[in-house]
């Protein structure tokens, strides 16, 4: 399951902590670049660089309003990451379903050893 080692991949796009900070900031709604610059405490060129990576993988969309460039989150691009975690989650769920069966037996055994209800 090797992934391409490029920034043009949702996984790599969110691997960078600053980019995740941007996504977090945008999860509350659309924001102009200046807002993000202020929130992150980075220089504008750096923020723009991160935004470009996020835009390339479709994680954010941009539109112009007057002189401002407004960025917003696009959840669809982040779905592969969601799916990836879901798969791991399913494997643990199946483990735990089997553990339920074991626990049921242990409970019955314990009740059998003590007084019957």
């Amino acid at each position: 399951m090797a992934r391409a080692a490029t920034t043009a991949d949702a996984f790599n796009a969110v691997a960078e902590p600053r980019r995740r900070q941007i996504l977090d900031a945008l999860s509350g709604g659309e924001r102009p670049v200046n807002d993000l610059v202020r929130l992150l405490g980075l220089a504008q060129p750096q923020v723009s660089k991160h935004l470009r990576v996020l835009r390339e993988v479709g994680a954010v969309d941009v539109r112009n309003e007057g002189r401002q460039r407004l960025y917003r989150l696009n959840g669809h691009a982040l779905k592969p990451i969601h799916d990836w975690v879901k798969n791991y989650e399913r494997s643990w769920s199946e483990r735990f379903e089997q553990l339920d069966v074991v626990l049921d037996e242990l409970k019955q055994k314990e009740e059998g050893d003590g007084s019957d209800e």
């Binding site: 990836w84 989650e89 399913r90 643990w92 769920s93 339920d100 242990l106």
Partner: protein
């Protein structure tokens, strides 16, 4: 079957290096702890319906080693091992974990058993040393997931016979 499922596991990624797995069980914690630390019982659930656990060694003391090996239904073997770092019976186990397919990535797992009203909330915090190792760990689960899909196909095929 009299088994009631207590819901699915919840997996979150709190930081770049962590995985957090949470699940509630309809049993007191001393039983969850027993099922977690008894080799014969581990063999019954740890396979995640994807194969057979052939090795479940548990030397449950600080500094003691553990090792689990599963032969997946596709024939390939996956092994994990580690060392116990902290043991509080029925409450907490801290142990290292190495996926033998990726021996460089040693994780530190903290398993917590919390009981309320006869039910137990189990949490497993997997702390990796890097994001790469963390991601590799999750992908090892992804391979198993594909295996699972193949198992299902096989079941369907058998039912058609």
């Amino acid at each position: 079957m009299a088994v009631t499922s207590s819901g699915t596991a919840t997996v979150t990624l709190p930081t770049d290096e962590q995985i957090l797995i949470t699940r509630e069980f309809d049993a007191p914690r001393h039983l969850v702890y027993e099922a977690w630390t008894t080799p014969e019982l581990v063999k019954r659930w740890w396979n995640a319906k994807r194969g057979e656990v052939t090795v479940a060694e548990i030397d449950l003391r600080v500094g003691g080693a553990w090792r689990y090996v599963m032969v997946a239904d596709g024939g390939f073997e996956v092994g994990f091992h580690g060392e116990y770092r902290e043991i509080v019976p029925n409450e907490r186990i801290v142990a290292t974990e190495v996926y033998e397919g990726m021996p460089d990535g040693e994780a530190l797992n903290t398993v917590t058993f919390a009981e309320a009203d006869g039910r137990t909330t189990l949490t497993i915090l997997v702390q990796h040393t890097s994001k790469e190792h963390r991601d590799g760990h999750i992908e090892s689960g992804m391979e198993a997931g594909m295996q699972d899909a193949m198992d299902l196909l096989e079941e369907v095929a058998i039912s058609l016979r």
